[in-house]
């Protein structure tokens, strides 16, 4: 019998503390709010699941959720292919690599609300370059008053801000492909499309999974840009869930806000899990196969 010593648990204590402070405690606070009601004076009453019921029965919630999903779907459909195309077009060696990488990284270094402010000014028809130019060309454009224009602006802004993330990830996947693959493809007589379809795309699949996940979560939680540019309007056509939450918080609807936060959180968790499960499905080890000792090229 080996001596059993439980002291090793102390080694994970710092991590537990960190997670508790940064995640568990705030989350439990929100849970706490979501099942209680208050009329001020720091007095709380047990409210059961009534807040959840209220949220789930409100049209406002479902509309916001629909807007979130639509926004995410649109930007994923644009940013992933666009990012891959840009990555394919980037040089693989020479001085151009550094230039491209820096250019690609630039938008990523700008904070969300600054991006929002830039675009808010950019799209103003009185002083903004874009808004002014469009107006000058006779295009009837107004991001604050026209819902379609508001959406287009938010989408263009997000594509501008985040496509480079997809590009950088896809590029990392591309440069990790050994030359031998391209040489073998030439020997096998593969067309350019076949090289993309059977070599580059499968090799990029993993990083693209990450790109999709990151972009989905980020776009689903979009807040700063619409908050700054459109303020959720016109009407509430760009009132995404996060903006709605902010509205609830601003009007001190703690219980309903907390319940909505948790539902929101669960939805993100669910979608992320679905994405992850679907996109890594093929990698799951099957019981009948021998382990791959080398894992292919280094």
């Amino acid at each position: 019998m080996k001596p059993v010593n439980q002291k090793a648990w102390f080694l994970v204590l710092p991590v537990l503390l960190l997670v508790a402070i940064s995640a568990v405690i705030p989350l439990m606070t929100v849970v706490n709010y979501s099942v209680q009601d208050t009329f001020g004076n720091n007095q709380f009453f047990w409210a059961g699941t009534s807040w959840y019921e209220k949220v789930l029965h409100s049209e406002r919630f479902w509309n916001a959720l629909l807007r979130d999903l639509m926004f995410s779907a649109i930007i994923l459909a644009i940013e992933i292919p666009l990012g891959v195309i840009v990555a394919l077009a980037m040089p693989r060696k020479g001085w151009g690599v550094a230039v491209c990488l820096v250019l690609m990284a630039l938008p990523l270094l700008i904070p969300w609300n600054v991006v929002g402010t830039i675009w808010q000014v950019f799209s103003r028809e009185d002083i903004g370059l874009l808004g002014g130019a469009l107006k000058g060309m006779g295009v009837d454009y107004n991001a604050v008053q026209d819902p379609v224009d508001a959406w287009v602006t938010l989408i263009v802004m997000d594509v501008w801000h985040w496509t480079s993330l997809v590009t950088l990830l896809a590029y990392a996947g591309l440069v990790s492909i050994p030359d031998a693959y391209y040489q073998a493809a030439r020997i096998d007589g593969a067309s350019g499309w076949s090289v993309f379809r059977f070599i580059q795309l499968p090799k990029m699949a993993r990083v693209l999974t990450i790109a999709v996940l990151l972009r989905f979560m980020d776009s689903f939680m979009i807040f700063a840009e619409p908050f700054v540019v459109t303020g959720g309007g016109p009407g509430n056509t760009t009132t995404f869930m996060s903006i709605d939450l902010e509205n609830l918080r601003a009007s001190n609807e703690l219980g309903q806000g907390a319940a909505m936060s948790l539902i929101y959180f669960l939805i993100i968790l669910l979608f992320s899990w679905i994405f992850y499960a679907v996109m890594t499905r093929e990698d799951a080890p099957r019981p009948d196969k021998a382990p791959d000792k080398t894992g292919g090229a280094p």
Binding site: Y181, Q183, A184, I187, D188, A190, K289, T294, G296
Partner: protein, 359 residues
């Protein structure tokens, strides 16, 4: 299947090659006979992979021509040259099954489905992957993957040659033997022209009928394993092949005799030399005899390998290795002599040929 000729091929990877040292391949003239099994052997960076890539068309030579069966293919694309090439790391198309992988080169060339299926089935049989034909290729072991890489070359019925670029590097030792035996078997049964690049002499000598030894961008010797062993044409070949490598000892000439210190050994004839080259004798450790007469030596190390012992000694200031067979004694006052059968003379590192009496 084809005969492959490299005529005056030079290649530099840099832009403006000036000196010889700028060339990865300095000057290569070599014929690979139809149906031959060749090994390109040499240390890293000697240009052997460049030769292979020039044959397959992945690299365009800076100068010189490549001919398949007399036809100039230097400007043809890799695809048109109809070459199979197996790389150091197995290349497989991850998303395809084994069968789809093998059918891929045929599909790209527009071969009819029925014909393609027939060829793929044949190749599956050849490489022994029939039972795993419909598995995804990515889950297989490295040696199976390498077999798929090879199989993609074999499916094309008209490949001109199969080129191997250190194909067994990532394969487990015991699988290496098996795969190499299978390659030999394929060569024997189907008569493919095969060129095999390696830096491992055992691999080269066991695989090839003819070994091409390369050194610093040049071919230094082409010959059977026996030629390379008995008559290395350059001291590099002597060093590189055999374990331990050939002993190379500076010498002076005394008519038809060589002299090392007090020791004199007869040459098969009078060497004809131009100028005053640096002279050395080369003797395989297998031809160094140990006894009570000859050159006195101090023994520094004895490695017992079971059936043989490798004795390392210092004679006249030179390190010499000798192989002793079972039962050979190491005398108390050791001297060495050289078996005349194994004596080679080198002038400026190149072997002096005593034409007629040694070939």
């Amino acid at each position: 299947m084809a005969r492959i000729d490299l005529a005056n091929v030079r290649h530099a990877y840099g832009r403006n090659p000036q000196a010889d040292s700028d060339y990865a391949l300095r000057h290569v003239n070599q014929a690979f006979e139809n149906g031959g099994a060749y090994a390109l052997l040499g240390p890293s960076g000697c240009g052997k992979t460049s030769v292979l890539n020039i044959i397959s068309g992945l690299v365009q030579p800076s100068q010189g021509r490549v001919r398949f069966d007399g036809e100039d293919v230097t400007d043809l694309s890799t695809e048109k040259r109809n070459i199979a090439q197996v790389f150091q790391f197995p290349v497989i198309y991850d998303s395809m099954t084994v069968r789809e992988n093998l059918a891929f080169p045929l599909r790209n060339r527009g071969v009819k489905r029925a014909e393609a299926n027939r060829r793929v089935d044949e190749v599956l049989e050849m490489i022994g992957l029939k039972s795993r034909a419909d598995r995804k290729a990515r889950g297989l072991t490295a040696d199976d993957k390498q077999k798929i890489s090879l199989g993609r070359g074999l499916v094309r019925s008209d490949v001109n040659a199969i080129l191997f670029d250190e194909p067994l590097t990532v394969i487990d030792p015991q699988m290496k033997w098996e795969l190499r035996a299978q390659l030999k078997e394929l060569h024997r049964r189907f008569g493919y022209t095969m060129i095999y690049v390696t830096h491992d002499q055992t691999e080269a000598l066991t695989f090839a009928d003819s070994v091409v030894v390369m050194y610093e961008g040049q071919i230094v010797q082409v010959g059977s394993p026996e030629d390379l062993f008995e008559r290395p044409s350059h001291t590099f070949v002597g060093h590189f092949i055999g374990s331990p490598g050939m002993n190379v000892i500076p010498t002076t000439l005394d008519g038809a005799h060589v002299r090392v210190g007090e020791y004199v050994a007869p040459l098969p004839g009078l060497p004809r030399l131009r100028g005053e080259p640096k002279l050395e004798i080369g003797v395989r450790p297998e031809y160094v005899r140990m006894g009570a007469e000859g050159i006195p030596v101090q023994i520094t190390q004895v490695e017992d390998l079971g059936r043989i012992r490798i004795v390392r000694a210092v004679a006249e200031g030179h390190v010499i290795a000798a192989v002793l067979r079972e039962g050979d004694e190491i005398p108390a006052d050791p001297h060495i002599t050289i078996d005349p059968k194994g004596l080679n003379l080198y002038a400026d590192s190149w072997r002096v040929d005593f034409s007629g009496d040694r070939k």
